[in-house]
């Protein structure tokens, strides 16, 4: 098996060290390691992280291959430094049976730019009324551990309770897209000063917060784990903080875009900013950053939501909701969390690798960079600054809100079990 010596990298932002990869594992970590027989990657000044893990990706296959496929999506993931992604269930057909999750899992195995862990739907067809085959999906080759109707909220309290209870049998977790449907009928953007002015249907913060409050209480009542997708409001943070203090087993994620962008951008009526949950206010953004720093929010998840050009090149109301995020996530986190002094690189490794792997039980991922561990690694040039050019994206879709925006940091190398998937910023 081939050897690679990563020379002089700041492992998790610490002092420069050499890391030797032999075969699929980390063979040595230290200073002045011998380069004999190894391909050398000069990494002076760069930061080496465990391969990133995304608990919330939309790969669109099967059904919307015009937006993304398992192949293009995992290539985008590798470009962004990810070695594992959890693929959401809102495909066509919906990933609500062992057959569909195995299909996605198998496509991931074959394409191999990163590991693909399918998420199973909570309810049949994401319709919110009948539990999907949760056990069969778990027992399938895909070994599903995370269940979510993401894109839709499991809004029936009884169904949510049953799902939380049922997955206890195999230590699964239900990831909730918290959106009270009646309070968000016709909603187009965050409800507040800007929506009032623009005349766009308002999406109140309370529609998210009410569901989170209900679900943490349900999780407490039945003694289950619940994961809250893409928190977007200051109130949601308060509820999660309260629940954690009370000992409830809740984890939560925030997207990079909710750490950076606000609803002021909607004044452009540019659908590139249309996303679910919507962009909120400056205050929400600042509270989300602090909550990610203090651990109230456990992880960053991209909610990578690719859409073809024509689904965004139209008027706001007609446009699809969502943004691509895999290839810019680390840069946005550097800008909002590291460069602001809120989080160091060890913290980033925790929020983007260790913790998501733990929540999703992604074996072999989110492991320390130490001898004997799988060589899932990401090398970041943190000194880089450049403007985002979607033309260079590996994703099949280009719906990024950052086009032309300068962001810091660039992933130069990604290794999946010792094999480079990204070298000098180019996919292998």
């Amino acid at each position: 098996m081939s050897k690679t010596l990563i020379r002089g990298a700041k492992v998790l932002g610490g002092d420069p060290q050499d890391v030797l990869i032999d075969g699929g594992t980390v063979a040595a970590v230290g200073t002045g390691l011998s380069a004999e027989g190894a391909e050398v990657v000069e990494a002076a000044g760069k930061v080496l992280l465990p391969g990133l893990v995304d608990l919330h990706t939309h790969l669109r296959e099967p059904g919307r291959e015009d937006s993304e496929t398992v192949l293009t999506g995992t290539r985008a993931a590798a470009s962004g430094g990810y070695t594992a992604v959890f693929a959401m269930a809102n495909t066509f057909p919906v990933a609500d049976t062992a057959g569909v999750v195995e299909q996605v899992w198998r496509l991931g195995k074959e394409h191999g730019y990163c590991d693909v862990r399918p998420v199973g739907a909570v309810t049949v067809g994401l319709e919110g009324s009948t539990l999907a085959e949760l056990g069969a999906m778990h027992e399938s080759a895909a070994g599903v551990t995370v269940f979510s109707d993401d894109g839709k909220c499991v809004h029936d309290a009884v169904i949510m309770r049953r799902a939380l209870e049922y997955v206890k049998a195999f230590d699964g977790v239900v990831a909730q897209h918290a959106q009270e449907p009646r309070l968000t009928e016709g909603a187009q953007m965050n409800e507040g000063v800007v929506s009032a002015e623009l005349g766009l249907g308002g999406w109140p913060a309370v529609a998210e917060e009410a569901i989170i409050a209900r679900d943490v209480l349900l999780a407490e009542h039945v003694g289950s784990r619940v994961h809250i997708c893409h928190l977007s409001t200051a109130g949601s943070v308060e509820i999660v903080r309260w629940a954690k203090a009370r000992g409830i087993r809740v984890t939560a994620e925030v997207t990079p875009h909710h750490l950076l962008l606000t609803d002021e951008l909607v004044r452009t009526y540019n659908p590139v900013y249309k996303v679910n949950p919507p962009l909120r206010t400056e205050r929400d953004v600042l509270v989300l950053r602090e909550a990610l720093a203090d651990g109230t929010i456990d992880i960053v998840a991209t909610d990578h939501a690719p859409h073809p050009h024509e689904d965004k090149d139209c008027e706001w109301a007609a446009a699809a909701m969502g943004m691509v995020g895999l290839e810019t996530a680390l840069s946005v986190v550097q800008e909002t969390m590291v460069d602001t002094g809120l989080l160091d690189w060890t913290g980033v490794a925790d929020r983007m690798s260790f913790a998501p792997a733990r929540i999703g039980r992604a074996e072999g991922h989110g492991r320390p960079v130490s001898v004997g561990e799988p060589a899932n690694l990401t090398l970041v040039d943190t000194a880089y600054r450049g403007s985002v050019d979607p033309a260079g994206f590996a994703s099949r879709s280009r719906n990024t809100p950052y086009e032309g925006r300068e962001l810091p940091g660039r992933v130069t190398h990604t290794w999946l079990r010792g094999t480079a998937t990204l070298v000098d910023g180019k996919l292998t």
């Binding site: 009032a196 005349g199 009526y269 008027e315 706001w316």
Partner: protein, 324 residues
Amino acid sequence: MHRHLISAADLTRDDAVLILDTAEEMARVADRPIKKLPTLRGRTVVNLFFEDSTRTRISFEAAEKRLSADVINFTAKGSSVSKGESLKDTAQTLEAMGVDAVVIRHGASGAPYRLATSGWIDAHVINAGDGTHQHPTQALLDAFTMRRRLVGPDAGIGHDLAGRRITIVGDVLHSRVARSNVDLLHTLGAEVTLVAPPTLLPVGIESWPCEVSYDLDRTLPKSDAVMMLRVQRERMKAAFFPTEREYSRRYGLDGERMRRMPEHAIVMHPGPMVRGMEITAEVADSDRCTVVEQVTNGVSIRMAVLYLLLGGNETALTRTTEEK
């Protein structure tokens, strides 16, 4: 003036007064035996209506024809809009045809803004109402009507509405007319009060340059103009208020309430009026009610806007005098 007219908020005080003054000149054209100016001869204006509104379309069409523009009416049915492609596709078709201006009415807030800024089309864009966002020419014709009634047609030239107290009543939440009027009337120096049940006021309204009240009776005696908004019956099913009767009792304008307004105060309505719930026949038929004038003034305002966007920088008067 900007290249486009998308929002009343985009107009400066001087822009707005210039439009009102120009509209006065345009109104005089209506008194002539031949109600036509050659100003936009050879120019093509498209009325692009994705949402039915015969009144607004006819008003624009009359304005365009009085300015001798070539007029194309394009009505697109709402169903294709959900596909998302139709606005862009239509825009590009119009661009290929070399149209000079597009008057657009659309059910989606922001569609005219998107049309003007997306690069799909080069023409001037005039917003004829978008979703619950803006309807700037409606606000202008309302302001024009107020200036004529409260200041006087000729005495009004060059004047704004400084110090006038305007009350807007009803479904503010879903009303592009309310949004546009608050912006424009504030720019023109008026003091605006919105009166509605709290369910029909948007969250975030506290940032608007106006007062908000839930009590019509307290507001009426200090109003120079009272503008009633239309309330759609389907709002009741959505539980914005308990019953039609209760709404009418608290926020409807009847003769008794009208008599509590100052002597000179006028009653306005963007039309079409639903007599009964929001306004009684007695009020609608009184000579304080300006609904018919608003329709007439709409044509003058739209002529002024088209003229200023497409015609030239000077006031219309010099041009019309020459043409005599």
